[in-house]
Symmetry: D2
Subunit: 421 residues, 4 copies
């Protein structure tokens, strides 16, 4: 992991929910390797319920049977992931993805399977049994698969048995769920997860869900993980996108050096599974630019949520905009400058510094009508007086002078790179 | 059930926790029949975990095995209740207790055993299975045996299967747990329990736990049950006893006509299991009188918590005081009159009317030192001017005149019956 | 004051707001003496701002001039109360009302006039000045006349100077405002008021406003005052009337022996000043009966709010119903029995005991449609089996038997007196 | 006002409370002009109660007399500010301070004097009177001088009359009190103040008190004022200093371009009036450096609170450290990097960018013992690999390499300037 760039990749949830298959994962990995890898996209992540044979949608099946090994560790459902047959787990799939020059990730739930507890299975590499370490009052509020673990009774041993297995498989990215907004209740368990991962012998990105994370716990998230969700599931609704400005404002100072507030997947292109039925993102093109711009200047992880093989040209342009992705990789110290109404239209300005010089300035029209504003250079407090700009979406260039006139469609954004000359 | 008198009986929890045996229950039933029945005591109630073979204390064993029939209904552990062998359940024990002229009760938990859900057992008398009706996010906070039931998915059918069985056994009293302070969350389930019981063909007292019940739900408790806990577990500590005055004040107007706020068991005599090791109640004799007096004028259910065969003479005097038990049976409209400091000592006065005439007036010294107060008759607003009194604990009698001088040891109480003449 | 009966009288607020005149007060006093005194009505109370020459409505005039003596004690505005001329204060008016066999009351605000503080007037009977005893951060939220008093700096001296004056005038009833729901903030000041009154040498009823009072302070209200408002201003709206059932439920056990929860004035007949313009109560006849019935069984003070000289026959029937007023005077231990829906209509039942024998049972139909219910005697837990009833509004009589069929119009009530025979 | 640098100056409160005199103000102004002006210090601000003749300490005198003109505008007490005699107000003193090349500021309270309201004085430049525009329920919680103003009734006119007068006097800085943490309650009044100031024809810094300001109102503070208090009064206690790190973290992104979160005055040198009696700051030298460092990187206004003529050499070194003051003037985008325990000692790191190039990095040891940490360059995400540092307090220089070893006394700080080379 390049610690100065928030992770970029693809995640199966937005499109496939609990039911993605190996075939789909491989197809998307191939697409990423051919078309997107060069822009920096690299992680391919299989989301929740890969161990459930009957998973068939975004819904969970209460109390359903899960695939486990004799130590209560969940295993890929062979009917969905054929290469895992014979106890090989995700190793064959990870090997394939690595062969494409990409990295492989999986989703896990906090805790140990309830059936492992009721069957009282032994914990690999320890003298403990599942019943001894399960936490009696700790269940997930929305999924019936697991019990939490009691770290005072040795629960960390189970996480160690997990990460040993994942290291053997070649996993590069762990998205662990039911452990982020659950602080401080789950603090001991989160620390156990972090320590077990650090001790497993393989570097993996650690991503925490679900959001909203607690701002008061920012330093803890930064120390134990690489990214943490600052919002509940993000979908293609303007209200949720608008709300992200406030979340980003609160969290922006905590991005950097291997730890990034996570604004969730990008619901772009075909999403929600049956994409031949036109379940394409409901965001319009302006809103999509606003989303990509905010995520980029905020240094949020960029995880594509849609089925990539179904991307149209416009969607491809969102994820292959080199100037925008340069901002995402290069910007430092980004933060909002102001939010105010000008001629009745609310605009928001963010700025940040380029690690390699220059400045990034993003302007958002969050109102319901198109309009133009003048952004005075004095609002940015820059020492340089002789600056030019390049806008990331339009490519337009110019001199900054006393300020920039910015014309924006409703719900749209522009992202300027300012440099000497 | 005599709807004008709050239930009176014995419950196994205070002394035996989760581990009472049939032998102990029979011994206490015999004792009650011989020594206490004549004073109105009648219910013999087996508390929690009678279906757990390994139960051995007041502690719960997480995720332990429970005895169930093929429909997921819990059955007595035969090692603890030998007469239940051969699938007879509690019928032989209930028959024995009925033969003594007493009534039999059991404790149950809200919901269906988790193992019945994970095994997906069928629900007796319906086409449903356990997995279909279990509520996914509903577990007890302190016991791992059950899942709650989803009434919108047919969960009531399981309660119907339970009460049918209990009616066959001859159960007279159900103490259902994890369903009282859990309102309004568990309201639908509570109503389902009440309806299932009313439809089972046998009258049973319905007792709700745990407390504290919600005052805002008083009318619901009154309509669906016969008693409901207004406090968490009550033990032999003055702080808890003192606190009960405030609880009783809030709930007193809701006692009567088959529905009684429940102040929990009476921790008297040997409690906490190993009674040969002198685990006798920590209340002193004054506090015990205060407790018996408050419970009686407040019309709380009187459920003995100690091992009755180990009662000494003083303890026997607490449960065989005819005047006090007359107040418990006869008093109506009882409520506090005032609480105030007199000469630096806090006293509390309660009063009520006798259904058969006369008045009951109780005076409590809740301060830390002995003292005497004058209780003016005018505080009681009685029309009669020619009253005499009899005190329940001392038997002393006298004329009321303008008022009564009441001398009380710290933490002690007196209970007066006032009548014409 | 008969301590077993909540005060009954007339108050100028509902009809005249801040602007009642001596002429009106005298006219109402004459009417009360002639027509209502025989039923128990006795207090004639002049409400707020009698010291303000320009008062003209229910509105307050911020920072307006007030009439004061040289010790900062407010004096009747002579243009409104001519008999007070020459520094006689309310003595001539009180004398007149006493001559009619009635009692006289006034409203005061907590604290000392702001102008007395800014002028730094001396406090009668002490060495203190107004500036020394005013509490710097204590003003009324809705009236600009006064500053609160700091009891730690001698503020009680000002209250002593007030009550000395009121005793000289012959005041029988003090309604003090801005000091009831303000607990615990104003506790020290309330106690100072109570002690100053008790030391003044004349018995006066002490009535606290505004509501809602704090239930947690019930014992304090009982010890320092005779009545305290349990609601904010009560007007002729069904929502407020319906809401009073819940307030009465919470407070009912605190009524009696000289201390009564106060449900505010009765907005009956002509109210809101210009009564020739038909500003008559918006309550219909059923709701008026409901109000009179609830106030009576709850033992609330009965203070007429309308202009009595404009009462029509129906309004007169509300305040001259001997059976109902007997219940108000005679009932003890009253409380709700239940509130539930029967055939979709919510009904509420209250009951109480007669000090002189018998029982009172009130039934309210709080639903939106007319209907009939059967009230089983068993709900009342009465020992007597041979009871007859008399209904207070209709006069109908009958035998109780197993219960009573009660037919009620929407928002209406019946009040039964049950007795042997 | 240079909008890129937070205001720097002296304020009379910390040392003189409510009772500073013209003589003292002139002496401090002369000292500043001679010794500190060259470092950027320029504002001389007279704090609260300059209109009160009897002011004599940090205490307020309830309901005391204030000097006013015939329009209810407060005027300097001539016994304390002799040059104001003859209705000249602060003009002579402002002229004097301007003659030294400095700027002059005063403190005002939100609202209009209560005596102006009770006397119903006319409002200069309008047809309104004080009584018409005073807000009836709006007083300050800790000072009895004023009533708030009702903007819906024309209250802004009074603020216009004030700023017109202050512009005539030559005021450059207004610290307005009782209007900052009072949002949103006082929002309308705050906007009226801002508009009145902008319309008065003279530029003045607008400073809002008291704190803590509301983070949710950040954009409003930024738009209407130049600085706003983020804390209640700050004094020389480590707990308050430590607490400021968290406040600064929340507010840091809102500093810049003419709007600065205000961490209150610097309690350095002689404070609390009787400085000959050794009422010097209780902060030790390490804590003073921590304070100066945090205020500087956070871009807080720097307002000296102590009596400058009594500064010793060390105190002078705090306010004449050119490197530190360069950071205060030059730093942009500053924010915390992390807070964590290293070897059991909590350290905090902040960083920012230089407007003229380079970076600023501050390290704080907030633990109770001395220790050394290694600060890796990778935590700072800098692109440059060939950096040197200069430390502001010690002057030590070196190469950054992979990181810097930082040794710090308990409660102490270092401030590094990093640049190419």
């Amino acid at each position: 992991m390049n610690k100065n760039i928030a992770p970029m990749g693809w995640n199966s949830w937005d499109c496939y929910g609990a039911s993605v298959t190996e075939e789909t994962v491989r197809a998307n990995a191939r697409f990423m390797a051919e078309k997107l890898k060069v822009y920096g996209w690299e992680y391919v992540v299989v989301d929740i319920q890969w161990y459930e044979p009957k998973a068939d949608s975004h819904e969970y099946h209460p109390f359903t049977e899960l695939c486990m090994d004799e130590y209560g560790r969940l295993m890929p459902a062979e009917n969905r992931f054929p290469s895992s047959a014979g106890g090989q787990g995700f190793k064959p799939l990870a090997d394939y993805i690595h062969s494409l020059g990409l990295k492989f990730g999986i989703h896990i739930m906090r805790g140990i399977p309830r059936m492992a507890v009721h069957k009282n299975l032994p914990v690999y590499g320890s003298d403990l049994t599942a019943r001894q370490i399960a936490k009696t009052d700790s269940i997930c509020a929305w999924n019936t698969d697991m019990y939490g673990l009691d770290t005072e009774k040795g629960g960390k041993a189970y996480y160690e048995s997990l990460f040993k297995l994942y290291a053997e498989w070649g996993v590069d990215f762990i998205k662990i769920d039911d452990i982020c907004r659950e602080l401080p209740h789950c603090e001991a368990e989160l620390i156990a997860v972090s320590e077990a991962l650090k001790g497993c012998g393989r570097e993996m990105v650690l991503s925490l869900s679900p959001g909203p994370a607690l701002l008061s716990e920012a330093e803890l998230y930064k120390q134990v993980s690489n990214m943490w969700r600052i919002t509940d599931d993000f979908w293609d609704k303007w209200e949720q996108l608008y709300d992200m400005f406030e979340r980003a404002e609160k969290w922006c100072i905590h991005a950097g050096a291997g730890h990034f507030p996570d604004a969730d997947m990008l619901p772009i292109g075909p999403i929600l599974q049956d994409y031949d039925k036109d379940n394409r993102t409901k965001f319009d093109r302006y809103e999509l630019k606003t989303m990509m711009t905010l995520w980029s200047i905020f240094r949020a992880p960029l995880m594509i949520g849609g089925e990539m093989t179904g991307f149209d040209d416009f969607t491809m342009s969102l994820v292959t905009n080199s100037l925008l992705l340069q901002m995402h990789a290069d910007v430092r110290h980004s933060h909002p400058v102001w939010k105010k109404k000008i001629n009745g239209r609310e605009h928001i300005v963010w700025m940040g510094c380029g690690a390699a010089g220059g400045y990034y300035v993003c302007v958002f029209n969050t109102s319901e009508t198109e309009g133009e504003i003048f952004l005075p250079m004095s609002d940015l407090e820059l020492a340089d007086s002789n600056l030019t700009y390049t806008e990331c979406w339009t490519g337009e260039t110019g001199r900054c002078g006393d300020g920039i006139n910015v014309r924006l469609h409703r719900h749209s954004a522009k992202a300027y790179y300012l440099q000497q000359g």
